[in-house]
């Protein structure tokens, strides 16, 4: 029974060690502006976390090369969440308490952003998520807008609605089947909103089939869908699975177009043999890589130069998020948390890669969506959909 006492001593020691080690967000005047990014660099969704981080890093490099913000250089601190909620909490808290970051960027997964959002609220540090689409991230369950939390991306309802509208009006489809990823709240959210809008417009949802992320065989679901003979299939998943779904659908003799959301946006989507399978499909997105405006072109080229690959939606959103933060700090004229928060909430028509972004009352990004059509493996602009 000496163990308990010894344990307590050990706990005390550990506590002292921790409190000596942490330098608890010193308020000293520094010549850099610290921006924190908590991201899934390892684990299940590392692919999206790594892309976002690349986009943010590119933006920071550019901003610093152009003289920084308010005459100060930006110091980006990235912390890994290992795709887990436990580490998301730790990473966010560390960036705020220990590093004293001015703004917190992250996460891809809404669930991980939802762990950090209450922390940002409590610590009164503005947080901008590049790609968490669940409405709850900025507006809590009771309908209260979180004062310090903003986002750059669409929310699930918006993209679901846009694509439903597009399917009904532009493609004149009447009967649609849905294939969603049950393990992914983004996919589930898009599917739900697509169904609601499409049915409200008089369309018919034939079936709502599901799969689990990481599965690679979708033939069972697709066989069922094929037998219903839909006009199109809505597949609001990530490109990691969509390519396989498209290929297997074509193998089963399904020829109707597949429709999707911004999760499709990656050069990997149509690589190799998937090119043919996805020909003539459509997805909603923030922008088009094929966009010839100088801004987009410069971004795409720079990204390719730095990383040897074309950017996906996550990279573009990360890039935009960083620029919006820089813009807000510039407008605020200081790194004061309240001022930056206010400036963020007043973001209006910010010309980003992913569209002209205005932060609305719900702290969501108000911007128009584009629908891209896949032609010979390229994502070509097809239509602009207003919110």
């Amino acid at each position: 029974m000496y163990r308990l006492i010894t344990l307590l001593f050990a706990g005390l020691l550990a506590g002292i060690m921790i409190s000596c080690g942490g330098n608890g967000g010193n308020e000293e005047e520094s010549d850099v502006i610290k921006i924190g990014h908590f991201a899934s660099l390892q684990g299940d969704i590392a692919t999206f976390g790594q892309q976002t981080d690349k986009g943010i890093k590119l933006a920071v490099e550019e901003i610093n090369a152009n003289g920084g913000v308010l005459g100060k250089q930006i110091q980006l601190i990235t912390e890994d969440t290992r795709s887990t909620t436990q580490d998301a909490g730790l990473a966010a808290e560390k960036l705020i308490s220990n590093d004293g970051v001015t703004v917190l960027l992250g996460e891809v997964a809404s669930s991980l952003s939802l762990v950090a959002a209450p922390i940002a609220e409590r610590e009164q540090v503005p947080m901008l998520t590049p790609s968490s689409t669940n409405p709850e991230v900025t507006v809590d369950k009771n309908g209260n807008v979180r004062k310090y939390v903003f986002r750059v991306c669409f929310i699930d309802p918006f993209q679901g609605k846009v694509m439903a509208k597009f399917a009904k009006e532009n493609l004149s489809t009447q009967r649609i089947a849905i294939l969603k990823d049950n393990a992914n709240d983004y996919s589930v959210g898009l599917a739900k909103n697509f169904r609601e809008t499409f049915e409200a417009m008089g369309g018919e949802i034939l079936a709502e089939q599901a799969f689990e992320a990481k599965q690679v065989d979708f033939k069972s679901q697709l066989t069922d869908i094929r037998d219903m003979n839909p006009d199109a299939i809505y597949v609001p998943g990530y490109y990691t699975e969509v390519s396989l779904i498209a290929e297997q659908a074509r193998d089963l003799g399904i020829t109707v177009p597949l429709l999707g959301g911004d999760g499709w946006d990656s050069p990997e989507l149509t690589k190799g043999k998937f090119k043919e399978a996805l020909e003539g499909c459509y997805f909603s997105n923030h922008y088009s890589v094929e966009d010839t405006t100088a801004k987009v072109k410069a971004f795409t080229e720079k990204y390719d130069q730095s990383y040897g690959e074309l950017p996906g939606a996550m990279s573009a959103l990360g890039y935009d998020a960083m620029y919006i933060v820089a813009d807000a700090i510039t407008r605020a004229g200081s790194t004061d948390s309240e001022a930056v928060t206010k400036a963020l909430s007043e973001t209006k028509d910010f010309p980003g890669i992913t569209g002209n972004i205005t932060i609305d009352e719900q702290h969501n990004a108000e911007k128009s969506a584009v629908v891209l059509m896949i032609k010979e493996g390229k994502f070509t602009y097809f239509a602009t959909m207003e919110p």
Partner: protein
């Protein structure tokens, strides 16, 4: 009926791949009596070996075709085989006399090592890669809603040929006899003058090489590869091995086909999202009802 047939064919071609992976589990268990948890990740490495060959300038010059397929298969089998031998030599051999659970934990460590090192951006990166075409896919049967493509047939043929080859190897060769003797009793085999270290290395080589072959077949049919892709097929193949009676080579083959079909049937007739849960449920059911599996012989503990 047509749908049932379709699900069965899909299941059998998936099961053939599981069977190939399961053979490695069962051979290694047969000799060393431990679960090589990293086997699924050796399988993953196999797909990347294929990927790098096919995307290299050499592979691109070859283009899809029969010759390319043979080269890729041999390379993946050789690469995985050598990896298996290396893992055994570095991580498992020092633990030969330790409790099985120590080795199991080590195997989990090896598994994590391969997965997370693979995720590092300068190794494979976490982003899934598209596996290039090895041979062109053609539709063989397309009557009504029944569809059979050339890949399904290739998978089936390759798997059966490899299994028969393995059988020949084990039954007809000297090293095969040594392997059989070692899986009956490693110590006795060693006393009889069999170089058990060589037998164990050989077992790891052959088992891992089969996983390498399975990897190429798998990547051909589901051409998106990523560093974590080995986990699920690995687990299912393991379950197949247990179902067939772990340590029993024909059992592993049969188990693979059963698990593959059970999975597609579940997806087709019950719920696609429950397919993995069902496979685990099968595992638990077997282990509780008949832990020795379908073809395994139950041993009595000597008291």
């Amino acid at each position: 009926m047509e749908e049932f047939l379709q699900q069965l064919i899909n299941g059998l071609s998936l099961g053939a791949i599981y069977a190939l992976i399961a053979l490695g589990y069962t051979m290694i268990y047969g000799v060393l009596r431990f679960i090589n948890f990293a086997h699924g990740d050796v399988f993953m490495i196999g797909t990347y070996i294929g990927f790098f060959i096919l995307t290299s300038s050499f592979g691109q010059a070859l283009g899809p075709g029969f010759g390319t397929a043979v080269i890729v298969f041999l390379a993946a089998m050789l690469g995985c085989g050598l990896l298996g031998v290396t893992i055994e030599f570095l991580a498992y051999r020092p633990l030969r006399t330790r409790p099985k659970l120590t080795v199991l934990i080590t195997a989990i460590g090896v598994s994590f090592f391969l997965e997370y090192t693979g995720q590092l951006s300068f190794v494979f990166g976490a982003d899934p890669r598209t596996f290039p075409t090895v041979v062109e896919k053609t539709m063989v049967v397309q009557s009504g809603s029944l569809v059979i493509d050339s890949y399904q047939i290739i998978i089936f043929v390759v798997a059966i040929v490899l299994m028969l080859g393995l059988r020949m190897l084990i039954m007809k060769t000297r090293i095969g006899t040594a392997l059989r003797a070692s899986s009956m009793n490693l110590n006795a085999a060693s006393l009889m003058g069999i170089n058990t270290n060589a037998v164990i290395s050989f077992t790891f080589f052959v088992g891992s090489a089969l996983a390498g072959a399975g990897a190429i077949l798998y990547a051909m049919s589901y051409p998106k590869i990523n560093p974590l892709m080995g986990i699920l097929p690995g687990l299912k193949a393991f379950i197949a091995a247990v179902l067939g009676g772990i340590g029993n080579i024909s059992g592993a083959a049969v188990g693979g086909f059963i698990i593959g079909s059970a999975e597609t049937m579940t997806a087709g007739y019950i719920s696609p999202t429950l397919r993995d849960a069902i496979v685990f449920a099968i595992l638990i059911f077997i282990l509780i009802v008949k832990p020795s599996g379908l073809f395994g012989q139950g041993g009595t503990e000597k008291v």
